[in-house]
């Protein structure tokens, strides 16, 4: 409901009173009620309106004539209520307070209670506090602010990010390497190429070995495991070929006993 009060504090002077346009705020306290329509939105609230009434009247804030003030205040509030009811709640509260103060002042004071506070004291305190804040707000508003009255130096510079070398432990390195190797294995192609291995050549090798040793154990013949599977296969084929051609003899005494090779003796 305070939306209207807070949006703008400028007075809208495009209003007309008794057919004449209002060019400035009325100077006297007794504003024609019609003018209020234009006027009351400039107040920030009931305290602001009260302060205005007091100052316009040149009243002593410490000795407010409650009857006059309340009467005038009520005139405004009544008008305000007629125009915009939703605005009036805060103002009505103040009316109640003013009337309460006035009525307490009217009550005859029992002589024995002489130290009773002036019923206006609280109102005066609030009015003074509000006026203080009002002034503080003006002072703040007048202060230079960065962006409008203060221009801060802001030279351009090319940002060069200083790269801090990352810390790597030996373990990290090993983990990384393992990952690389594993990944690489997925991409390895299975290549089939023509093996340049000659069975004949291996047949000669076997014969040469057997000539040297006369008799060899089967496994001893294949002592070239590290040279790779293809060679082993060819070697084996060569051995079989030699046996087929009857150039070597393969013997075994009993199942699971060592297999021996030897050159066939020509009859």
């Amino acid at each position: 409901m305070n939306q209207l009060f807070n949006t703008d504090t400028k007075v809208h002077l495009d209003a007309k009173i008794h057919g004449e346009s209002l060019t400035q705020l009325p100077q006297d306290l007794y504003i024609p009620p019609d003018a209020l329509e234009v006027y009351f939105e400039t107040f920030e609230g009931p305290l602001d309106l009260l302060l205005y009434l007091i100052r316009k009247h040149n009243l002593d804030i410490l000795d407010i004539p409650m009857a006059d003030l309340t009467r005038q205040y009520m005139q405004y509030v009544e008008k305000m209520r007629a125009i915009k009811l939703e605005l009036a709640a805060d103002y009505l509260l103040m009316s109640a307070m003013l009337i309460e103060i006035k009525s307490r002042m009217l009550l005859p004071k029992p002589t024995e209670i002489e130290t009773e506070d002036d019923p206006r004291a609280e109102l005066v305190r609030r009015l003074l506090e509000y006026e203080t804040i009002k002034l503080a707000a003006q002072r703040l508003d007048e202060m230079p602010v960065v962006g409008s009255e203060i221009f801060v130096a802001q030279a351009y510079y090319q940002q060069i990010v200083e790269v801090a070398p990352p810390m790597v432990s030996l373990e990290d390195l090993m983990t990384a390497w393992k990952a690389v190797v594993q990944r690489a294995s997925h991409f390895k192609h299975h290549k089939i190429g023509r093996a340049e291995l000659s069975v004949r050549e291996h047949m000669s090798q076997i014969l040469r070995k057997l000539k040297e040793h006369r008799m060899m154990e089967f496994s001893a013949l294949f002592d070239m495991v590290e040279e790779g599977v293809p060679k082993l296969v060819v070697h084996f084929l060569a051995m079989l070929e030699l046996a087929r051609e009857g150039l070597i003899k393969i013997t075994q005494q009993a199942p699971f006993s060592p297999i021996y090779l030897q050159i066939s003796m020509q009859d």
Binding site: N2, T9, G45, D90, E131, I133, A136, A137, I150, A153
Partner: protein, 187 residues
């Protein structure tokens, strides 16, 4: 890379102050020298730099000012009318209601919405609080330990920076005003 002498150090400080988008705190400035600088030395260099900018005709355009979060270089006031032409659209000023709300928070902090309403005599428009928070001028610093636990608002360091203040003590004094008014009214 390290500064060789105090002249070097002053130049480094100046470069940092010129390029920093926010005020530089003493801690920031010590980081410039990898913390290998005494606070006393730093303060001395800043004083020298301040005098340089004030007196050296080669660089008389800026002034070194201390605000809430540190030091910054800003244009001297005689250049403002010209600089203002570059941005003809002034940043929007806050409404009177917003300024009063801000003033209450600045001078009476920490305050709740209720405190603000008590002083202003009208309900607080939540938009105003939001506006001030978006500007990063106020924030919630806690809750008052009463039913409803209302938020307590206070002004930020950014607010002080924007108004070129080092602390809340430097706000325009208002206590004197009330006293002066009182005596005038009584007289």
């Amino acid at each position: 890379m390290e500064a060789q002498n105090t002249t070097d150090m002053k130049m480094i400080l100046e470069a940092a102050l010129l390029t920093s988008p926010t005020p530089l705190s003493l801690d920031d400035m010590r980081r410039l020298f990898a913390e290998r600088i005494e606070r006393a030395t730093l303060n001395m260099l800043l004083d020298e730099l301040k005098v340089d900018w004030e007196t050296n005709p080669q660089k008389c355009t800026m002034e070194l000012v201390q605000v809430a979060t540190g030091y910054r270089l800003q244009a001297k006031s005689q250049y403002l009318p010209f600089l203002a032409r570059l941005s003809p659209e002034k940043p929007q000023r806050f409404s009177r209601a917003a300024m009063e709300t801000l003033a209450i928070i600045a001078y009476r902090q920490p305050v709740t919405r209720g405190d603000i309403e008590q002083i202003r005599g009208v309900a607080v428009n939540p938009n105003i609080i939001r506006q001030l928070q978006e500007r990063d001028w106020i924030d919630v610093v806690g809750q008052r330990d009463v039913p409803g636990r209302p938020s307590l608002y206070a002004t930020t360091k950014h607010f002080l920076d924007d108004l070129s203040l080092r602390s809340l003590q430097e706000l325009p004094p208002i206590e004197e005003f009330t006293q002066a008014e009182l005596s005038r009214d009584i007289a």
